[in-house]
Symmetry: C2
Subunit: 223 residues, 2 copies
Amino acid sequence: MEIKILQDILESNKNAAAEVKDLLKRKKIYMIDMMSSPGSGKTTLNDKLIGALKSKYRIAVIEGDIKTTKDAERLAKHNIPIFQIETDRFGGDCHLESTWVKKCLEQFDLDNLDLVIVENIGNLVCPAEFQLGDDERMVILSVAEGEDKPAKYPLMFNTSDTMVLNKIDLLPYLDYDMNELMGNLRKVNPKIGIFQVSAKTGEGMEALLKHIGDRINAKKQGA
Amino acid sequence: MEIKILQDILESNKNAAAEVKDLLKRKKIYMIDMMSSPGSGKTTLNDKLIGALKSKYRIAVIEGDIKTTKDAERLAKHNIPIFQIETDRFGGDCHLESTWVKKCLEQFDLDNLDLVIVENIGNLVCPAEFQLGDDERMVILSVAEGEDKPAKYPLMFNTSDTMVLNKIDLLPYLDYDMNELMGNLRKVNPKIGIFQVSAKTGEGMEALLKHIGDRINAKKQGA
């Protein structure tokens, strides 16, 4: 019974995700689903990405949080469209679903957008199960979380297109084994794109910005 | 329909939690439900706690992971009973439930135990909803996760008895506002017990060890 209901939810999520994908294709908008543990630095990363990209591209953000509008407030200075989903109002949900993303998208002026960034709930488990209809699933991992996370949360890393390893400015203060991380990562997803950055200091951000810019342009050209 | 099923699951979890509570009371065993984000340092903390407590108390561990037995392997050197739950086998669950904990407890020699530590799935959302029948809910928060987590994940911090703020050895390398954290924490739970530690360097561990020792002794005396 429980399993049947879960299947129904996943099925209806899949259908809405397909509709989102169609809509984004028609409007030539690139969408990133940004996922991570709590405290990996998603909002700081977003702040820096938006700051660097907003002069060239028209950006909107969908913020997912269980409670508070803190993240949306932190990004408000950029004067871009931001839609906040507080899942607490739907019963404290631990992930975003494509039906909600679709409703958010319908609030935006889609003829004047190039990029939508979805900041998912801070959770390395549940968001992995729900496709949103995006172009790129990006998992953010802080070096402070250790090297074993791809092995312990395989679905998240296996279904992601890119991994952004954040907070590399902390590496000198941790006993971090980069080879172990990369070994664990390649075992679950040999094809994943990898970016090592410090959103705080700016280190490594250029490659990530170039990647996102290239993908936006490719989508514009109908890729 | 979905809500009804969730209520059924929560209800059956609550019943099994009451059974666990009874069993632990009868056997005078103290049980801690340790919860946190992925990568907060739960296993390192556990390693240090067990190392310091095992000469005085008889300890068992229930390890929750979605995938891998890495954490159980890390603790194997202590030669104490460890039961690993890989939730991947039940469909990748994002939390532990009291029915599984009850089954694990039944594998242990309960007449020869003083302390059971449950290391829950790394997830700041879902485990908060499931009472396990323990004596103490302990949330571990790494300073690398930032100051806003109690505000953004209120149920976790509101239902916990103690918070262990871990990795304080990293404070000199972060722009960390301790007052902001404490303000956020007190707003959701003014009564929570707070321990600041570095499981890595050992700083602050004495107070936490004394707290756990006191609670084990109190339970032995029928408190």
